[in-house]
Homo-oligomer: 183 residues x 6
């Protein structure tokens, strides 16, 4: 009953990202996917990393922020499944890793050329995401603004901004600048 | 508003298991935890393993079965968060791994002595789970019955039994007997 | 004669084993595969292990013994490709690992139920190997006889027996008995 | 016939490279080694990587291309052994890893200062390779030309060029530009 | 000046063990080594493991206990170097791992056949340790007695017994019984 | 008896560094820590790496140089414990790794913002190190001078300089320039 349009919806679409942090572009993409699929599996990549410039937040924090953002946005929670997928370090194994850590899915959504290629080589249907503003770089822009003291709050859901402030995420990101590894 | 009793509920309780497969004892435990905590984080351990006697199902399949089981049981989905946590191979790092892959939690529920010890050494409050029938061995019993051709369906939710049959999970488990690794 | 029959041969067949050590059953299987395929890819599994009861010989030693055995047997070398594939520790990634370390292949030959299942779940055609004596256990029998001082030389090609003696392989195997890891 | 010259040949020489992709400089080096050694062991390093700017091709594809290139060049196959060696991530273990994955060898051929140092510290004889044109950078030049749309086919054997086109290797390399990891 | 005997002492001897926990047999061995070498390098193997039946104590705890035991025994601290060496999971790399984590040494002391073989294959001189009572099994005996509630304190230095009691090590060991991994 | 001042000393302070190589700034820091703590635990980070621009020396070599430097400086050896800690690759696990490989400590000394943050998030007291000249960059300066042929010997203890020359460490560092990985 969930898909009432004349076009039959795909059962599940996979949306892969790092969500450092979840932002408005991600919510836009999730809505697009849910207009074409009954459910969306949101796969948080690079799950084991945190406290770096590229990956300041842990998988657990990203899960928590994503759930907040989805609730705030009014997207129906029962149509969303969030999973965390660790990097495996070898591209040729990565699709199998995602498949192993995710409920089954029938289509992949991404604008990343490498992600698209890896899933296509594995036989999956891949569709692009419709850009929301300058979406593809939005995560990077947010982290850059955080480091430089700029305004970043308007690019993320309000609940996400509050969470980041509560855990002092901006300070954490700045401490990671220029020091990739302890010692 | 969620906790209306005179005793203030803990914000979140963590429930660690392997869920190979999710069974009635797990649902019983989740209900107990939700009577004491506002939310439960269900952490699927040994997430990277599958196709073995101890871990026949992938993390993705276990997530899918858990979500089915929770829906079927009437447990409110909005109070449940499911995460998958890979084994790290070193017990002294394991609690940090769970913390990194989970939203924050304030209490841990387990009957496993090692899990209890590791979390207590890390300073967490740990509470036992009230046994449901012979719960602690129920996963093992189910897998044993599957291998031997016994009746196992009554120990799991109906949706879980159907899912396992659809993916031919019993046959997979039997193929793993006596052969721990390919080659 | 080899590929002129009325039935068109498959381009390449994959033969996975641990080859600890290569024995007469392996040669028998290779001949069978070459009667049905133009070329055989011999994939040495568990490649990173050595000096254990299950895996006494290194990947390099197993490659060297396989090449000796194939030459001795008269099997045409130009139709054989030998590759070593490290275990990845997660069954759900293993087929991708084999694919990544092997030239392309179109069919898999194995009697191991787990190997069969993993390749079938990944969409490959899998065929059984015709048993040579008690082939499936021959590697185990050989290692057992080596440990107990029994006669094992008649189960392997002459060149393999000589190589094992030259590197004092039987003594190495015995040193591994009962001590799985140094320290 | 092979070693009857006045100078006694070394039994086996090791030639380490990444072969991304195999090119004319590699064939030139193999011929040099075979003029000084009875056999050459070609060790494909960084074997587990693929789909990156530095390592676009899988170990299996590199094996397949090397075998094609050697056949095309007329180098006698029976004097060549190709092995793939995964990176181990710790330089102090790397020589042991190569030794474990290779048939025995008595001499190492390389122009890489770090490879030379590591093998010399482990007690091996190391000899330089006679440059073929600008050999040392040829792999890098080829990948750069592929990315920029330049002419690269004349730097590799004809069979290698055909293989790369068949698997759409240039497109794969371009998809890896600027995106080191999925997500 | 340190070696005044008529026989010139070896500069450094390596003593590998797991030290779970350090016991009187270990001290006996250290004294033997120091009668033949100027210094001893004590290498704590399987360093990353803890909270298991075979490896109840962390590397840090084992270092702390070893230092206590050596002080208590009157062995001159300035002739002892304690290092921790993680297992590498591949026997063919293990000697290189020990070499990388230890100051240089010229001789190895062990009764373990596999350790002896691995170091001998790498070209090291290996000498046996003179047994102290039933030394080789003493660690195992101690852990067994701890589990069963027997008397174990007389087999370890007094300071080690006190340390284990302070950190509640016996309880930790018992919690590991029958549960190899959390979940 | 060791702490006779009116202010009670902390039992143990942890000093984390890579010690590539140990230099005068490190000795200055160790003296500061020993003025405030009864003992110092020197934790050698990134222990598994060597033969790179950032980490030219093995953990064993760094241990050996640290012991030489401490002896030469007159710092009392019995108040110093040196341990090597491998990187774990995931910042969220790193503090647990250090704790597992070190004897217990009550305070951490560091000027590295990320190290400070990770230990503070884990609940440890962290204090800065009083700079000795341009201490924080001294290791980098030394390695840079080694590469460029500058004077570096005055920045390290005499015994360390001699050791580096004996093992031809400067040549090793130069061989690592521009070639991060073999092959």
């Amino acid at each position: 009953m969930e898909s009432k349009g004349s076009v039959k919806k795909v059962r599940r679409g996979l949306f892969v990202g790092r969500f450092q942090p979840p932002h408005l572009g991600h919510l836009h993409a999730i809505k697009q996917i849910l207009s074409e699929c009954e459910e969306v599996v949101i796969a948080i990549g690079s799950a084991q990393y945190s406290h770096t410039l590229e990956n300041p937040f842990t998988a657990g924090e990203r899960i928590e922020m994503l759930l907040m953002a989805i609730r705030e946005s009014g997207i129906p929670m029962e149509r969303v499944i969030v999973v965390a997928v660790p990097d495996v370090g070898e591209h040729s194994l990565w699709v199998s890793k995602v498949v192993s850590f995710s409920p089954t899915f029938q289509r992949v959504y991404t604008n990343n050329p490498l992600v698209r290629r890896l899933f296509e080589e594995a036989g999956y249907e891949v569709k692009p995401i419709i850009l929301f503003r300058r979406r593809e770089e939005m995560g990077k822009v947010i982290r850059q603004r955080m480091i430089e003291g700029g305004e970043w709050e308007s690019l993320v859901p309000r609940s996400v901004a509050e969470f980041i402030k509560k855990i002092r995420g901006v300070e954490r990101l700045r401490d990671a600048v220029g020091k990739d590894y302890p010692g």
